[in-house]
Amino acid sequence: MFDIDLWREIFQSINMNRTRSLLSGFTVAFAILLFAILFGIANGLQNTFEEAFVDDADNAIFIRSGLTTKANKGYQAGRKIQFENEDYEFVKEEFGDDIEYITSRVYKNLNASYKNEQNTYDIRAVHPDHQFLEKTLVKEGRYLNFNDIQNNTKVVVVGRMVETDLYKTVPALGKYINLNGIQYKIVGVFEDEGSEYEERRIYMPVTTAQKIYGNNDYVDEISLTYNPEMNSDQALAFGNKIQAKLKERFSVAPSDQRAIRIWNMAQGTKQVDIMTSSLTVIILIIGFGTLIAGIVGISNIMIFIVKERTKEIGIRKALGASPRSIVAIILIESIIITAIAGYVGLLIGVAVLELVGPSLEVYFIKDPGVSNTLVFGATLTLIIAGTIAGYVPAKKASRIKPIVALRND
């Protein structure tokens, strides 16, 4: 039931006892403010971490070969291990169930030219899956496809900076590019979130490069991404399994560290996971602590308020106030103050994060912010805590004999 007179009583009490209201409001506002800022900063740190690993797929494994360092099965140390297309097929066959994308890579460094402009670029000859491994964003045209691999077509996909370097303002899509004397058609232009350096690359079908630049089946590197549902421990084990299988295939000693080399992103992911989860724990502790401090503050204020109002309670009781109306007037007042102050604290906190946020990027804090749900939850917790903390002394005050309350000076 809405009782306008009760609200009038409460607002008069808040308004006429401004110091008391402001002080108790300040405690709540400050607790929520700290809570919002701490959580915001923590979220900012987390954003930085996440962004650092956004460039490449974070579930990637890269496999390269080198020289053996140990004699094994009748072979001498120092033998060169060379991957070929067969090995790519082998990995794909053997581990297909756990592989998301897989590609070979052949590295070349070629001189590229268009009309009078020329420059040297990294060429990567790859399979179509490479697009997803590198998170390449095709801006115009298309990426390499199965048909290109099948038919050794002379097509390339060039980076945005290659287009800028060689073609200036003319669109590169559909034009030809000369790579060490051979003409390739540009079928796509790409962007990469990583850096401009990554946008100075040229992709061509792996089979084309093998045919034109060596007439062999050689592969410099096999890259793959594993099933993203694997956790970092499973992923590390998966990488080791691939390595062991390949060592066996090439008759490399199991303890040989150089012949078959694996670089597993899960290694880094695991560290980041540990970092983020410990950060989360620290944040939770801090947030929880702030809330507890707020709750203790509110409880103290409520006890103080009831103490201060004891005489008023006595007068009201002498004039015919029921115990319920005494509890109501004290509790509703505290709830109103807590709610308003909590909201003010939230506003200030969000405003501070907005204002200071951009300048914190130097300190690895990016886009600090808090979800409204979280802060409303915190405010609600404080309101509930304040209600409980206030209810006990209010109830007690409503029960004391008016004569005792009146004697209280």
């Binding site: 306008i4 006892n17 007068i315 009781k317 015919g320 029921s322 004569i403």
Partner: protein
Amino acid sequence: MLKINQLHKSYPIGDSSLHVLKGIDISVEEGEMVAIMGSSGSGKSTLLNIIGMLDEADTGDYILDGLPIKNLTEKKAAVYRNKFLGFIFQSFNLINYKNAIENVALPLYYQGIKRKERIEKAKFHLQKVGLLDWADHLPKELSGGQKQRVAIARALAANPKLLLADEPTGALDTKTSHEIMAFIQSLNDEGKTILMVTHEEDIANMCKRIVRLRDGVIMEDKKVNQVRAEQYV
């Protein structure tokens, strides 16, 4: 109006207890004006507080306006206080953040009367004590006599059957005391039943009956010739 039979009250003091009222018998008829006198510690204030339902007796009967006052719930006591009793205190006990008219209207709020009507009634009673012009003033802006008059207006607002005054002139100078007493006498003239505690002989003589307490028993209960306060004003 009021009948008290073999009333006892004691307060615990540490391990022992202090027997304050030792079997009080008293009855008050409608329209009386009674002064309860006694030195400090005689139990006069305790008696008044029990009559006012601000405190509870240990044993004995107390019947107010035909209703037995015993083992009341807090809620019921609140209703009875509001309906039957008006209080006047030595220290006025006004709510300091409410202005004069709001203080007077407060008992009406607890009667559940609508705001407009409350204000009307409060105005009427403020006018009666001659303070309508001070309606918007806070207690701290009023003199002692004015505060007590606001308190009297508040006590009258709910139109109680019995007016209880605990040393109503205790905090006032002689001249103001006489003004307040003259006003209380005029209320009695209109038919209000009044019970007051005082330790001042001249104030007691302005009532119609004096009950003297000593060590928790009634020593003397006699009717007196009322001294009118107007003559000193």
